[in-house]
Homo-oligomer: 152 residues x 3
């Protein structure tokens, strides 16, 4: 029963792209850890427990680069999670495969470019446009899904 | 196969309300941008790159109103995402349509009122009660779903 | 139709563990409120409206313990939400029940231990290892799901 659902081509495509963008989001956590260690900027006392008293004080701080990665991570949560949730209803509402692929591909590309823009501090409007593009794709999917299923 | 699922009335109702609250959450990002521009409070250097050196320094700051919108956005993520995920399992566990609609409607109303309370800084306990009501709806759905499907 | 899906044993197991970890995440909000009240550390002016002018000033502050709970909550969102979303695709990709249960159980245990490590400020690498274990479980599920459904 359940396994039959994956015969659906739109669901297969959605699963693929959704998993790829979720994996991208999950990479932000190790990236934050990398920045914390190279910048020597930690948030918790137990994270610097083995260091000298002087080092401890110095490393319990916020760092510009670490905060940048954290903002990028939070922005991902704010945009990728809605994409996956909306995408699920969109997929269930029976879109055409070609239209669905267009949505999934533009969103995935927009979020990869958003991360590059944010971490690389590329000049605006790189980050703003990639963010906006992803938002519009999600709104378009929500609109299509609502137009098919709306019951209030 | 997949498209047949949307024949289910509870799923149609759940999709509708879930999409509406997710769209509400997504509106918080443009709202944050609006506050950042009107208050002149930015988080990234590239966001103020075109401004004079003096303006740059002044506008790379946190602002009370911007932080308020950001806390509201984060509170949405902490509550609306669990609602949609729990709601999916709840819907799959086969509730009665009338009970399901009651849950979905109260949750949606509670989150709209929560946003108004937060952004408008309404006196407490407006925000606390709307938050609590949404939490209780989600816990009630989780309890119903667990009572139907629990396998550990 | 829809209710038949819950006959699937992997979906029943996934629903159970997903609901349990989501409920665990939702408990972080009341816990934050508890710490805010006991530490007297609030973020919004309306939260301290009934207090004396002097108390107001003192209680509109960030507190070490409150910030710790909030970081734990955010870390939950960053990890539990991807687990539930990836887990859904993993479940749809038709894994064996025993393998699926192993993934779900290790993840759930890892997040419970992560919360204990974070709130209790246990010495590292308690928190780091529990975080890493949860991440690896989710990546393993994503890998399995992608290997079954990948369509780009």
């Amino acid at each position: 029963m359940l396994a039959d659902l994956m015969q659906d081509e739109v669901l297969r495509a959605f699963s693929s792209y959704a998993l790829i963008v979720i994996l991208k989001v999950m990479m932000m956590a190790p990236l934050t850890a990398y920045y914390r260690f190279t910048r020597g900027a930690f948030a918790n006392e137990e994270d610097v427990a083995l260091k000298s008293a002087e080092e401890k004080k110095k490393q319990l701080r916020t760092d510009r680069d670490v905060e940048r990665v954290r903002r990028c991570h939070l922005n991902d949560l704010e945009n990728v999670v809605p994409f996956v949730l909306v995408g699920l209803f969109y997929t269930l509402s029976g879109p055409e495969l070609s239209a669905a692929l267009l949505h999934f591909r533009i969103f995935t590309a927009s979020r990869v470019f958003h991360t590059i823009s944010y971490i690389g501090a590329l000049p605006q409007p790189c980050r703003a446009l990639s963010f906006l593009l992803g938002l519009l794709v999600t709104v378009s999917m929500a609109y299509h899904a609502l137009s098919q299923v709306l019951v209030i």
